[in-house]
């Protein structure tokens, strides 16, 4: 199958973007990553220019690591699970728009990890020495927790969220869902107040505009709007209690 791939490129973060167009023959099992790999083996554009290989991030290639997230035909998703046969013969690749550009399709997603630090996204264990089993967790909590714990920090939910933009510092749906995950765990809940405080700061949960794009776009179907709703209530109850106790 002959396909035409249009790639939005920038050599540096401040370069003006330009388009390079490649044409190549692929079989029906091709995905966007294998297309980019083919281009690397012969980086010549449709007008015969030899260019540098398109720069992109990838790692697991089975949609569990989140590295290869980009805009594919104007939809943010992982390039490894984007099959050419579903995309058609014209493919347009561009970097994520809500994160600083590094080069071509590579962006800097450090703010997601900074968010996880901010909400204290961890279980405060005493140490790694042998202390026997953890607290019992019911199968019901495990099922919700497991869904939340599949977040790859890929950035798709932030890309699709209108509240994540140049004028806001919204922490984003993924990080809020992780706060719920840690609050669900009996030990994690011991510092849930810290998480509420973090979420009530500027750029926290109050920034959510309830557009609900996140839950539709998440490649791992995380219950993102459920998590935001739940924490909205939890933080409200927490702040009322805090007010009454002060």
């Amino acid at each position: 199958m002959k396909i035409r791939v249009k790639v939005e490129r920038r050599e540096t973060p401040i370069s003006t973007p330009h388009l390079d167009i490649f044409e190549l023959d692929v079989d029906e099992t091709a995905n966007v990553i294998s297309v980019l790999m083919e281009i690397r083996k012969n980086p010549v554009t449709v007008d015969g220019r030899k260019v540098s290989p398109v720069v992109f991030e990838c790692s697991c290639l089975e949609e569990v690591c989140g590295a290869c997230t980009m805009n594919i035909n104007n939809k943010a998703r992982q390039a490894c699970s984007a099959l050419v046969k579903d995309l058609g013969r014209e493919i347009f690749l561009a970097p994520l728009r809500k994160f600083p550009i590094i080069r071509d399709l590579v962006v800097d997603r450090r703010k997601i990890f900074a968010g996880l630090r901010r909400i204290k996204g961890w279980i405060p264990i005493d140490g790694t020495h042998g202390m026997g089993p953890g607290p019992k967790v019911s199968e019901k909590i495990q099922r919700i927790g497991y869904k939340l714990s599949r977040c790859m920090s890929c950035g798709v939910c932030m890309e699709s969220c209108p509240q994540v933009n140049d004028r806001s510092n919204f922490i984003g749906p993924a990080v809020i869902a992780q706060a719920l995950l840690f609050n669900l765990h009996p030990t994690g809940a011991m510092i849930k107040e810290d998480r509420y405080e973090a979420l009530m700061e500027e750029g926290g949960i109050g920034e959510c505009g309830n557009a609900q794009n996140c839950v539709k776009s998440c490649p791992k179907q995380l219950p993102l709007t459920y998590s935001i709703g739940k924490l909205n209530r939890d933080t409200l109850i927490y702040s009322i209690k805090k007010l009454l106790e002060s």
Binding site: N31, S59, E63, L116, G127, S153
Partner: protein
């Protein structure tokens, strides 16, 4: 030592993160170097689970049985004391992960649930759906984030390891690393270094490994004089699905939960593993299952549709059960193959999966360079000639724990710290790397590095995987020498001073060719069959000559191979069979 010691950990997978956590608990400050954010490390791909003999199903399982089966499964090539220690530590490791909040599957009463895996008849594998590696990786990443928050960990994300700093007295004193985005090459002093950089599946082009698993750090250290052990032992996993970019793993847990392997013979389904190995059936160890599938497809020509593929079938199992236990892996199959495995049997074939060999380490996880430690898939210690399923997550975490403890003892014992080492030493090491990269930047030859890599992968996959012949191995060594020559004529493809990933790939490719040489030479000289290493010319295990660890040391033309006795002091070697 009275100053605060700094150590470096290279690698953000399970082993590197666990080593970091334990080092921090001992109040060491850690600089953590990773290519990508830790959440994107290859540990994320592990699916099925982690072994620990907690005997929750009341079957009479015990760490001693786990120990025996690991040694037996590895065809007696592993030194036994560290394996014993690992198996006895496994229950506490699983409890620790449970305390860290890993969302393991539960029994109705709320206890940890366990499933079966290859090479054992016990339910010994704790699991979180079919994305256990991901869940455990995240839990450790979160603990490291906590130490980062408290100022004990400094992360260097997007920095690639390029050289160890080894001083005149032979002590590791830091590393040279390059930033893949700014292209800065810097030297980082430290009192000790822990390598946790994973396996080298990319040498085979397409494998189940992540794109970052090039083994480049191991190749660099090998050339710096670090011994490399059991290189020829490469695990080929029996069940993967084909792709243009990689071969995707379909977890052994699919068979652990009841999945069956079959193909057609004389027009009827033929469950060849169950027929030939009635005791273990579909759960024979991976080396055996891969050889049988290879035999059925290649020698007998009985692959499905005449291709190299057999069925892995779960269509007889309940859909709700499949979703809860195996959802993550069945989703991968459906996404990439476009068929629902709950309705239609999956088509699978063996693929390169795990590097049993690696940096030689002692029982303290230290290489032959003082102060240079290694843990996880990048070292050789726990799996002998074949790794049992669900022992990899265990060995990564256990090895990381040991390394984290031992590195503390080591820095305590040092009489001189990294600050006392002359700056000239650091600058010299940095200069070696800078000069090498300046050279790469000028390369404008005719060879495309990505095409050369493809050829390397095809050559290695064809000649140095499931079935090995001495004639072909010797030819492969010549071919690798030819690749070395062609490497000199490479085109670096990219002149940019920003995020020039081709430049780093060229360096990785050089390393892959060197490690391919170690793997192939080790395979050529080992004239026996043991675990994953199978030679039809020498179909039996030969303990008299080869109950030995292969040790490769660097030499310009070909690696030098010597052998070291295996410590079999705890379990007497016996013939390994599963029928």
């Amino acid at each position: 030592m009275n100053k605060n010691c700094d150590i470096i950990v290279v690698g953000g997978g399970l082993a590197g993160l666990m080593a970091t956590i334990v080092a921090c608990e001992n109040n060491l400050k850690v600089k953590l170097f990773t290519l990508l954010p830790a959440k994107r490390s290859h540990s994320v791909c592990a699916q099925g689970g982690i072994n620990a003999s907690l005997n929750i199903k009341g079957e009479g399982d015990s760490p001693d049985k786990h120990f025996y089966e690991t040694i037996y499964g590895g065809d007696f090539l592993a030194n036994q004391p560290p394996v014993k220690e690992m198996c006895y530590n496994a229950p506490e490791i699983v409890y620790l992960l449970d305390r860290m909040g890993v969302m393991f599957n539960r029994t109705p009463e709320g206890f940890l649930d366990f499933r079966r895996f290859g090479g054992t008849k016990y339910h010994r594998t704790a699991f979180a759906g079919a994305t256990t590696g991901q869940q455990i990786l995240y839990a450790l990443d979160e603990q490291v984030r906590r130490y980062e928050y408290h100022g004990l960990v400094e992360k260097y994300t997007g920095w690639e390891f390029l050289r160890a700093v080894i001083d005149e007295e032979g002590y590791a004193r830091g590393i040279v690393a390059g930033n893949i985005n700014s292209l800065d090459i810097e030297v980082f002093p430290a009192d000790a270094v822990i390598m946790a950089t994973g396996g080298c599946g990319m040498i085979f082009g397409k494998s189940t490994n992540s794109a970052i698993c090039t083994g480049s750090p191991n190749a660099i250290l090998f050339q710096q004089g670090v011994k490399y052990a059991n290189g020829e032992f490469i695990q080929v996993h029996p069940t993967a699905i084909a792709g243009n970019d990689k071969l995707r793993l379909i977890s052994e847990s699919v068979r652990g939960e009841g999945g069956r392997i079959w193909t057609y013979k004389d027009g009827k389904p033929w469950y060849f593993l169950e027929e030939k190995y009635p005791a273990y059936g579909n759960l024979v160890p991976r080396d055996i299952a891969s050889r049988e599938i290879f035999h059925v497809c290649v020698d007998l020509g009985l692959g499905i549709d005449g291709k190299n593929q057999v069925y892995l079938d779960v269509t007889h199992l309940d859909e709700e059960f499949l979703e809860y236990k195996l959802g993550g892996v069945l989703e991968i199959y459906e996404k990439f193959m476009g068929e629902n495995p709950k309705k239609v049997p999956m088509r699978v074939f063996p693929a390169v999966h795990y590097t049993m060999g690696g940096l030689w380490v002692d029982y303290n996880q230290m290489t032959n360079i003082k102060g240079l430690f290694a843990a996880g898939e990048c070292e050789y210690q726990y799996h002998g000639a074949n790794r049992l399923g669900a022992n990899s997550l265990l060995s990564c975490i256990h090895g990381g724990m040991v390394a984290g403890k031992k590195v503390f003892e080591y820095v305590q014992s040092l009489s001189k710290c990294s600050d006392d080492v002359s700056t000239d030493v650091y600058q010299q090491h940095k200069q070696v790397v800078v000069a090498k990269f300046e050279q790469y930047k000028k390369m404008e030859g005719k060879e495309n590095p990505y095409k050369l890599h493809q050829e390397l992968g095809e050559t290695m996959t064809e000649n140095v995987t499931v079935v090995r012949h001495n004639k072909k191995l010797a030819q492969t060594i010549d071919k690798l020498k030819e690749f070395r020559e062609r490497f000199k004529n490479i085109d670096v493809l990219d002149k940019s001073g920003n995020a020039n990933y081709s430049l780093f790939f060229v360096n990785q490719l050089w390393g892959m060719i060197e490690l391919a040489m170690v793997i192939t030479k080790g395979a050529l000289l080992r004239n026996e069959s043991r675990g994953s290493h199978y030679k039809p010319e020498f179909p039996n295990r030969d303990d008299a000559n080869f109950l030995k660890t292969t040790i490769a040391t660097y030499a310009v033309d070909e690696p030098q191979i010597s052998y070291e006795d295996v410590d079999v002091s705890l379990i007497k070697p016996v013939l390994r069979k599963y029928d």
